[in-house]
Assembly symmetry: C2
Homo-oligomer: 164 residues x 2
DNA sequence: CACCATGGTTCGTCAAGTGAACCCAGGGTG
DNA sequence: CACCCTGGGTTCACTTGACGAACCATGGTG
């Protein structure tokens, strides 16, 4: 049942990336969510789309439901027995930027020459969408070097400016 | 040596998320990169910060170097022998948004009450930074439902609007 | 009633992650 | 010169996780 999620052996204290990966960092989890964003809701469809072993898929779905990223919703198609499907919750939907970020990286660095396999456009205006960092003052943030990371409650030591 | 990276068993065709995860989806990879963004460059420091087994860390570093996300740079501290450190490349640095996205999710959904462990601010103005989707026409995109995903080269079928 | 599809579970095998122990190069200390 | 320390690993025994094929239960169809 995957009732009690295991203690994450990542250190959650240092930064939330570890915590998030403790929830969705297992193999297939993020891909299950990707399919959910694409509208795939049923076990068999997920299994076909992903090619993941059924046992693993079962486990990941249970885990994602237990973590509140998906809900299992019963439904009945006309002339079929009751089944259930998996739907994103707000908590799950909020991972959208992370998936888009991973997708953008792949589009940029793995596609090679051709067009990316999936194009995202704004529903309202049709223009392509992209993820970007912006500060509360409205400035676009160019890259990691323009970002200062400060451990909470302490003054900034030597926070960033990584590979010079 | 991890010379030839294994064939990713994810389907890269459907969407780049799979491809990206084939590169950085193994356990610890993204956390290694997180530390790199925080300025940690040396093997022992990474090991201390992450608590990952040395063998795994060795493997992940080799893999990330082989994939071109990190470079191994020799250096010599005064009165010590030559060592080498791992630095982000452009390819690696471009994963910054993905890590920020994962971090933001954790800050939002895992922190509970308190402040997030790490605060990101704009170096130039000090304002907190956040990731957001915007379209090329300049509109802020509110969420996944405002995004249409289109497989390349085909017309949009029933692309999005996931969990109604 | 036999058959089929969905949505799983079980099982044997194989790959991956884990922690402890060990190793090697080079430098510093007595 | 013998000895120890530190960084950056490698090796090994063990546990956990992923894999794929087989099996099963429910309920509708011919």
């Amino acid at each position: 049942m995957t009732a009690a999620p295991p203690e994450p052996d990542f250190d959650r204290a240092r930064c939330s990336v570890a915590g998030t990966l403790a929830v969705v960092g297992e193999k297939w989890s993020l891909l299950v969510l990707r399919e959910a964003f694409l509208g795939v809701r049923r076990f068999a469809d997920l299994q076909r789309a992903l090619g993941a072993p059924k046992a693993v898929l079962t486990d990941r779905l249970n885990r994602l439901v237990a973590e509140g990223l998906l809900v299992r919703v019963p439904y009945r198609a006309p002339g079929e027995r009751e089944r259930h499907e998996y739907r994103l919750t707000d908590r799950g939907r909020d991972l959208h930027p992370a998936l888009v970020a991973l997708m953008q990286w792949g589009d940029r660095w793995l596609a090679g020459d051709g067009a990316p396999p999936l194009a995202l456009t704004h529903r309202d205006c049709g223009a392509p969408v992209a993820l970007g960092l912006r500060c509360a003052a409205g400035h676009d943030v160019g890259g990691p070097r323009e970002v200062t990371a400060t451990p909470t409650g302490r003054p900034a030591e030597t926070p960033d400016t990584p590979a010079g």
